[in-house]
Symmetry: C2
Subunit: 401 residues, 2 copies
């Protein structure tokens, strides 16, 4: 089935703290594989590949590549490029095939989220249709944890660990005064509440959220104010975790922001300031806090479980693609919750692409503006462990070309 | 000179990542001292002390207290209380003296920033005037680094380490796309630019700010836009570090926010969103990022140098106060920049209270919107080292009563 050829790996979409750990896993496995000739990293995803921006990866640099295990961002550059359906416009596909042929690329691994899995789907289908022998596998990556057909996604555990840790630190700090404020912590998540739900883990540290609002549960301003007032009257303070993407009953974003990103998605943000102003108007001292970009880039606090699994997903992808499999995404299957046990598998890409996995009802307590014990049991193993990272000048050391 | 009596320690003002390390230093040294009978922690600063909220500290709990070395916030509660001049109103002073006499408090250590040092000054003067034999020493604490008569303040190094680390992680993340944004990172600092300047240390990691704006240098919107455009045209991206408290030539805050905190200080914030909107109007993609409360509470990334020095400041204060010294603040004197060498000393409290130490001109490059090499040499030693902290459930473990 399989044959000797070169392998190309590229990154796409919003970075995470551990996407580069998957790159390391790919390089390590691919450099060891008999079936692979040369290994390349594409720069800036499919966009850069079309412009022939390929970087040779060599065995002699493996020690330097190990810094990828502690480097945030997308070390090989990312892009927001989506391919049109080839049934409508074949031109970009032809460029890609030409570039692949030039470099004898027979294995292509694409590391990204929902939109990137759409590219995996289209390319694998196109290659099959035209009879071009190149195998394509997707490696999942998103802090949002919203990919279908997988227990969780690499990147989520590290974001959750950062959110839970910083939330508990802020909550401890906020408990200093006898009469505290209503602190409203805004957490990433346009469509799903996975990240916001992870703030609940801070409770295991004694200082967590009193109220949790996610996009899966319709948001009512009136109910929000009532719930905040109730907590404040009991505790003299209140910690709120809220998703940037909360919506009302009609599905309209509470945030007013309407600018669009390159994919035509709404760019949100600022919901914490807005809710803080509502609380202030209701007579309680309040403050909006955004956790912002550190949620996806705080490599210094990455979960060791997440780093390890991201690397394993990269290794698995090499094994699968060189077995001649194409049109799949590597996925995680939970064999056991306690003790935590995961196995790697493959999901057909058409069951993944463009599907958004919401937080299921059994993980939520909607009437309490909270998450359930089942969610805690699900998420807790994902934030375990810390990497003893290399430093320079008192700062975490990054991989650099 | 000195005599046997009890010691009281309390915390005041905004917490830092290491104020509790000073508490640990105080407890350790005080429990070992022959001159001290009982050791107490006051709860919620001078406010709680007036309400008789004192907690006995015991030798048998020292192991539990060691968690203070990794606990953010103010573990014994804080307050924003300032005493009126006793020449105007003696009533609160009388309550304090009564409480102190009841508990035989002869040594009082107050841990805080500018406003807390004002309390140290007033109490030490009052006690002297009425002939009450109680010695008072201040232990410095503020992430702002704006206390006079000391090389730096405990709390600053940890905040600087968090800011530099997260700035470099965000900057690395932001370099993922071929065409990036103008990221405007808002950093704490109402009156001084010490914290914002520390973002420059991220450059030693390869990914730092292109432009730095501090309150010490009058801010011009026009010049800002020109400088951002210039960087963007060269790099296709731009990283800005800006203090929340930047002011125009007339000394007016650029931020419009006018709500007042309990001390009557202006509450700032939101400057990054405002500047991002200016940049967007000028035609460049932009995003405002607030580092927010994690700057002062991210104990998981505290500087080991800072933790150690904060503890030493607490120990030094016990030594000094039991020598019969009163009306001083423990200070840090830099003996040598390279190698970094610090000694502890005492500053007369009237030279500290209500004085704000600005970033000096030799640490700035105002025409470049930057800091100088001298600043880097000054600040770099303060962020060195990481504590191998204890964890529970994948989270940093806190001290709890």
């Amino acid at each position: 089935m399989a044959f000797k050829g070169n392998l190309l790996y590229a990154q796409s979409g919003g970075p995470t703290s551990v996407i580069n750990s998957s790159a390391y896993g790919v390089f390590k496995a691919a450099l060891e594989s008999d079936q692979i000739g040369q290994v390349f990293a594409g720069l800036n995803g499919i966009q850069g590949i079309m412009e022939n921006h390929l970087l040779p990866i060599s065995q002699s640099m493996l020690r330097k590549y190990s810094l990828l295990l502690q480097t945030p961002g997308a070390a090989f550059g990312s892009c927001r490029k989506m391919l049109k359906p080839f049934q409508e416009d074949e031109s970009e596909y032809k460029i890609i095939v030409e570039e692949f042929k030039k470099r004898n690329i027979r294995y292509f691994l694409y590391n990204g989220g929902n939109d990137s899995m759409d590219t995996v789907k289209k390319l694998s289908e196109y290659f099959k249709q035209i009879g071009f022998e190149c195998f394509v596998i997707g490696i999942p990556k998103t802090i949002d944890n919203d990919l279908a057909q997988t227990d969780h996604t690499p990147g989520y555990g590290s974001a959750a660990k950062y959110i839970a840790t910083v939330f508990s630190e802020i909550a401890y700090d906020a408990s200093a005064y006898e009469k505290g404020r209503v602190n409203i912590v805004e957490i990433m998540g346009r469509d799903t509440g996975w990240l916001t739900a992870s703030a609940s883990l801070a409770r295991l540290n004694g200082y967590g959220p009193d109220l949790i609002y996610v996009p899966e549960v319709p948001f009512s301003r009136e109910r929000f104010i009532n719930e905040v007032k109730k907590v404040y009257s009991l505790k003299n303070r209140c910690m709120v975790a809220v998703s940037e993407g909360i919506k009302d009953r009609e599905g309209k974003f509470i945030s007013d922001e309407t600018s669009l990103d390159a994919f035509g998605h709404k760019q949100l943000g600022g919901i914490s300031s807005y809710l803080a102003s509502l609380v202030s108007k209701a007579g309680l001292p309040s403050r909006g806090i955004e956790l912002s970009l550190a949620q996806r880039s705080a490599a210094h606090l990455a979960s060791l479980t997440d780093i390890t699994e991201a690397q394993e997903a990269g290794e698995e992808a090499v094994k699968d693609v060189t077995s001649g499999l194409s049109g799949f995404m590597v996925n995680f299957l939970r064999q056991s919750i306690k003790p935590y046990k995961i196995s790697l598998g493959l999901a057909p890409i058409d069951k993944v692409a463009s599907v958004v996995k919401l937080v299921p009802l059994e993980f939520l307590e909607p009437t309490e503006s909270d998450v359930s014990e089942a969610f805690i049991a699900y998420a807790l193993p994902l934030i375990q462990g810390e990497r003893k990272y290399k430093t320079v000048n008192g700062l975490i050391k990054f991989y650099e070309e």
